[in-house]
Amino acid sequence: MADESVRAVERKGPNYYLVWLYLLILTVAEVGVAFVSQLPETWLILILLFLALWKAALVAMYYMHLKFEPPRLVVMVLAPIPLAILITFTVVMMEIR
């Protein structure tokens, strides 16, 4: 049962409200970038995607506890990401003619 106490301490770690605050700020930043800023379109898209991925990573790491899971689980979870990117960007396949 020593195992359990170790894990319990680990689990106490993240401050869920702090993560929430981050997410909130990032969301506001997104809307701000999208509507207030006058960035050129390419930059806008890149920045928005970056912010979205940042938020997604926060949720996965803290709320879904990936940060505290055994590395093999993390590897397993990340493994299909390249495939997801591949299918998402089949657009490249169709556009370059």
Binding site: P70, M94, I96
Partner: protein, 596 residues
Amino acid sequence: MSTVSVEVGHPSVQHWAEPGHPDDRSFLRKYVFSTDHKVIGCQFLILSLVFLLIGGTLAMLIRWQLGWPGTAIPGGGILGEAKAPGGIILPEFYNSLVTMHGTFMIFFAIMPLLVGVFGNWLIPLHIGAADMAFPRLNMASFWTAVPAGLIMIASFFVTGGAAAAGWTAYAPLSAVPEYSGVYLGQELWCISLIVLGFSSLMGAVNYITTIVNMRAPGMKWMRLPLPIWALFITAILVLLAIPVLTGALILLLFDQTLGTTFFLPPDGGQPLMWQHLFWYFGHPEVYILILPAMGLVSEVLSNGARKPIFGYKFMVWAIVAIAFLGWIVWGHHMFQSGMNPYLGATFMTSTMIIAVPSAIKVFNWLGTIYKGDIHFHVPMLNALAFVAMFVIGGLSGVFMASTPVDIFIHDTYFIVAHIHYVLFGGSLFAIFAGIYFWFPKFFGRMMNPTLGKIHFLLTFVFYNLVFFPMHNLGLDGMMRRIYDPNQYEYMVPLQPMNTLISVAALLLGAAQLIFVVNFVWSLWRGEKAPPNPWNANSLEWTLPSPPPHGNFVAMPTVYRGPYEYSVPGREADFWPQDEPPAEAGRRSAGREGVPA
């Protein structure tokens, strides 16, 4: 059931049916809504064999039309006016036949046979587990597949008939009823496959969790029997490929019913997008259909040759490599589709590379029987046929992988020959091998070996007579999916060959009846099976046939890999995985140590 609870994050997790505990489940829970992986495996077996039979029957109708175009099928009048007036098949019905033949064979016969049947039968037993990780999910998986099949069958009987856009359902033909003349059928096709997708997904989640988490002590990754490796990798392919198909099917269904235009060009839709999505799923799918077959064959070959599998590690990595490469080759189905030719060149290269891990497998199988002590039992015969036939199918794949050559042979009977050499010569022979091999374990009776040998011989001969000449048809320019080749003058001289193929096909179909008879007869009348009829090593053979509910009385401990045959210094030529090493045995086994 045990309710021991231990801290989270601890290695999981197994609860054992107490030894000798009486099995007091009602008939319904035991055979119908059973959560026992063995029963579910048997349910899948019956279901998918029925679909195999249906698919085969459709093939017979196809061959009738191609062998004797425009003549009435004897007794074909029962098909009805809308399909075959007076027994003469109509073009629209022919397209339905081809589509449904491909669909039934791929999705409802071979895939459930390999993944549903052997996944369920073998995974828990081979890794030394009591059952799947999620037995009820497993049951749900089967009972989701049933309505999917019923929907697919039902689509034959709606007005407009069944789907007729090919098993690949290229849009816009599949999306617009006015183009295909099929109305509800095409929608039911989508719905059925979406439902079936859920079934496959549930299975995949279960298999992956079970294999990762529920291996008995000592069952290290590199001691897994090869069917389990193959099924594990296959489950990953299913898990990640099926949702893409589901997504595509949903978009197609919306195009058909809601008036969206995802694939319809007049409003900006992209027909090629369907092909990208479909083949992104489709190519991993064909490896879903071959990898488990390769695993089964490895098991049977090693057993039949009484020799350890040649290069176990390479075999494992070859499976992984094929699966990985399988994700980046989908474009080879689209070389002539209007996709950028430079992309075609890229896809050609990745496709070619798949020959390399496949070569490893083929030559390692040869290495396995080299200097063996080959027992030609029925499963072994089928496994050897697999090797011989898969090579033909694989090598014909290299022709098509070469983009310029594919210009000519794309969408000809050369492709049809390839399909059947890998799917029948490959997957189906492996399935036959597997069924003959494990039938005694799960039904407690042997299948009749004499009937088995006759069935094998006839199947092997007629099969080759049916599908080998299709290469020649393709090289002479005969297209696939054509109702009547004689429409083209240059194909008229091909008619004798088509007729020959059709005769052989009818005989091939008839030969399958021997299998049906053997199967059904053996269920009740077969010789009683001993626990280990093939002197095999893996864990299931230490159990009675059939194994009791809950499988193992106590959790087995695994001491060595599954292919320790003919170990020098041992009396018997096999060495069960869970037999504790004796002093003498330990010395000769060398590197195979005790479990950690």
